[in-house]
Subunit: 303 residues, 2 copies
């Protein structure tokens, strides 16, 4: 292989796949690299969830954003990962990379945002680490817990499942990415009342994240444009399909469970947007003119 | 407060203290922010250890360093934190921040270094996260486990304790910081054979890290220059006192245990370098001319 090859040629997900193949884990790792959280053996009834997320200046926020919301977001993205496995967040560590010339006021406000959202979700900030860096980098690692019977993963979607999403999509560009509320409560309500076959949070974009479910579950999907709940801040459908950071839940349930859900009080919170089909049928969007459009499972990519 | 004040005015440890004061944790956090690892409730006999460490290009390594050793170091520093609590490392997550123009070969080698050291210490790489950044930033969060009866902390040193260190000090500048072997085996041997009153790993420098023990244990110390085991790569005593990244163990035991240790087969591995005194006696170095020199508990600081 050409040693001058750059990581951009492989892309973020190509890079992750390349590494995943080479990792071996022991049986205490129930689910390793490749889902929103690592799932670890814990006690008789529960698994431990372990995840980390990094937000970087210029990529995930700018210094024009309120520092309070930057701190809040750094924790919220990890909470969203725990939520997508239907778990409860418990503890986190915060690793801060900071330029020397960072104003103290900025860090105080970042920290206030972290403290407030941690309090809201009953998360212990159990420690951290500060180092100097050229730009602000915040890595949050988080532990959560989920009952074995409630664990949700990207894998598990079955043909004929109905695809649902929470909230509305495509609004992240207008600031929602800083203010979103991780869907812990909603995910917990779902698993306590319905049998969820697969779940993910929309961080890379609807198409990319549904693509993750399709890949891990080895199935295809049909999405109905007319059913996708557009955020009023979205400038059009493509914002909902391809812009990441909605941090809404995306999940699939059997047709029977879908009917039950739609008749329940939860029908207000979750909207059906399509259905799972077999893998050979691919990933298709039915647009408002009832035409079929092939979809590429792409969204925000770091490279 | 002047809002233009920069974090450099407060320093790394000032910043950490500032945050620590404001964090509240529930009883499932046995030890929170301020030690090498967070110590979490786990099961009847064991605690869970949770730590994270970030290494940053230009601060902790340069691109002239072999990429394999950079990857190795990113994991090893976290293992060293687990060792300083006398635990066994179990699982880790790797968060990579990478510039778009990073050569694939470099990342492959970084990853190879991570895999090899993980295998050596039986650590599961349970997942990770890749994002674009202006420079290479590697954050590793790690989980470990330690028997309740064996847990070592920075607090617990008592006046008349003897201070010991493993290995030799001051060689990190000449490449040892990339190749060190985290002292898991040594720490485990210690706790299984002796009653250790306090322990830390030397990451910020002997004086700074002994300073952490003194602060958390509310005691003072006498160090004997003539006893400090200088690395043959050290250019002088100040390398041993103030240069970080030796990643050796620094611990204190009662005089009785010290005598036992010095008579045992472990006397080869650990050298006595001083003693704990009361807090009001401060932190003093007895130099080779038998003169007392007051020591500032300083070492490598990020700001």
């Amino acid at each position: 292989m050409n040693s001058r090859m750059l990581i951009t040629g492989l892309g973020e997900f190509g890079l992750i796949k390349r590494f995943r193949r080479r990792i071996k884990t022991d049986p205490s790792v129930i689910v390793g690299s490749g889902d929103d959280c690592a799932v670890l053996r814990f006690d008789r009834d529960n698994y431990q969830l372990f995840t980390c997320d990094t937000i970087v200046e210029r990529v995930d926020f700018t210094l024009k954003d309120p520092a309070y919301l930057i701190g809040r977001k750094s924790i919220a993205v990890a909470v969203s990962d725990i939520a997508s496995c239907a778990g409860l967040p418990r503890h986190c560590l915060v690793a801060l990379g900071l330029p020397k010339e960072t104003p103290l006021k900025l860090i105080d406000n970042i920290f206030k945002g972290m403290l407030d959202i941690s309090r809201r979700f009953k998360i212990n900030i159990a420690g951290g680490d500060i180092s100097s860096a050229r730009e602000i980098v915040i890595s949050v690692s988080m532990l959560g817990v989920v009952e074995k019977k409630y664990l949700c993963l990207r894998q598990g979607a079955k043909p004929k499942d109905i695809i649902f999403t929470s909230g509305s999509l495509g609004g992240s560009g207008r600031g929602k990415h800083l203010k979103f509320i991780p869907r812990v409560k909603e995910a917990r309500a779902l698993v306590k009342n319905f049998k969820i076959n697969s779940m993910i949070d929309i961080s890379d974009g609807l198409c990319a994240d549904l693509g993750h479910i399709l890949e891990e579950s080895r199935v295809g999907a049909l999405l109905y444009e007319g059913l996708i709940p557009l955020s009023k801040e979205a400038s059009g459908l493509s914002d909902a399909l391809y812009t990441g950071e909605d941090f809404e839940l995306l999940f699939t349930v059997s047709l029977k469970e879908a009917k039950r859900l739609l008749k329940s009080k939860f029908s207000r919170l979750f909207k059906p947007i399509g259905e799972i089909v077999t893998k050979d049928q691919g990933f298709t969007l039915i647009n408002k003119k009832n035409r079929q459009v092939k979809i590429k499972a792409e969204g925000f990519r770091h490279f």
